[in-house]
Symmetry: C2
Subunit: 197 residues, 2 copies
């Protein structure tokens, strides 16, 4: 039972999210958000204190969604490493489906704002940390299943996975070719599996 005000609030938030994602935070104006959401200025400022507050709200929405995304990763079938590869591949497909545009919303925010806005930086960091935590759990399972050498530092490798993910998405976005991500996965899989033979 959402009130009328709540609906417009969500509409603004969704529009801001989309535009920040596609065009960057600094490069989307309040007027842009107004125009595509069909909401008028006075109303937007009734629901949000300003552009910065919108930025925080968008980042919070990502942090909230992170949990369900990662739960899906854990609920899937297959071996631990297979589940990680599948996560990568699903994002490759998603990116491919939208013409390799946008990339990763968190990664975009991270590079654009980390040095400019410490409050944003902390929020972004929280998402990365959550990803690392979840990935590390899966990597520990992979080690137990002898999919990884016992010598591997799972925490460090979780960082590596996030880095490969973000870097891969960056390359897909600039090359406009989703196969780059496939190459990254393939190559990572290749050196990991070489351990077992």
């Amino acid at each position: 039972m959402s009130s009328k005000g709540e609906r417009t609030r969500q509409k603004v938030l969704k529009t801001a999210r989309e535009l920040f994602y596609l065009n960057g935070y600094n490069n989307t104006s309040i007027d842009d958000i107004l125009k595509t959401s069909k909401i008028k200025k006075g109303n937007l400022y009734f629901h949000f204190r300003g552009k910065e507050a919108l930025g925080y709200a968008v980042l919070d929405s990502y942090l909230t969604e992170e949990a369900e995304l990662m739960n899906r990763m854990f609920s899937g079938s297959g071996s631990p490493m297979e589940r990680i590869y599948r996560l990568f591949d699903s994002s490759r497909k998603h990116l491919s489906g939208q013409g390799c545009r946008g990339g990763c919303p968190i990664g975009n925010f991270a590079l654009e704002m980390s040095d400019l806005h410490n409050g944003f930086r902390k929020k972004i960091n929280a998402v990365f940390d959550a990803w690392c935590d979840h990935l590390e759990k899966l990597l520990r399972k992979a080690k137990q299943a002898d999919e990884l050498p016992p010598s591997i530092d799972t925490k460090a490798m979780a960082c590596l996975m996030v880095a490969v993910w973000e870097g891969g998405v960056m390359l897909v976005k600039t090359r406009k070719d989703p196969r780059v991500m496939g190459d990254c996965i393939k190559s990572l899989k290749g050196i990991v599996q070489a351990y077992r033979v």
Copy 2:
């Protein structure tokens, strides 16, 4: 024998490079460049057609420098993989030395502008391609030296290296902790070396 005009041209270029790097392209104004370079508006527009031309000039300067950077990588001592790890580590040190600010100038440009400016995107892509090409040569040598499994696709792995690099730099920039990059290298080294035992 550089003329007076050429000196100011270089001064503008250097300032634009620095500001685009630290604050992003869209987020640095012509006035910002004017203020920090002490050059007056009419003079800047005498040397450059506009902001876009400045962007191209900055990207061209990166493409030019890329060659010497990669030559240095090839001229170093040590095994092929060691040289790659050292390249990563030198960037970690560099980032650490400047307080984990800035990150990778090409990566910043890539995420900010790939979807907004196709001309910029192509220039950025050219730099990534050059990196991949050089890395692939080194990876082929590594394969010959039995540092990598023969089954590895060196082209795909070159992509992976660039992805790890860019992703690692992103994490360092947002975490403000250079050790993340160290973790990425360590982890990569770990799974590669597991192949040899």
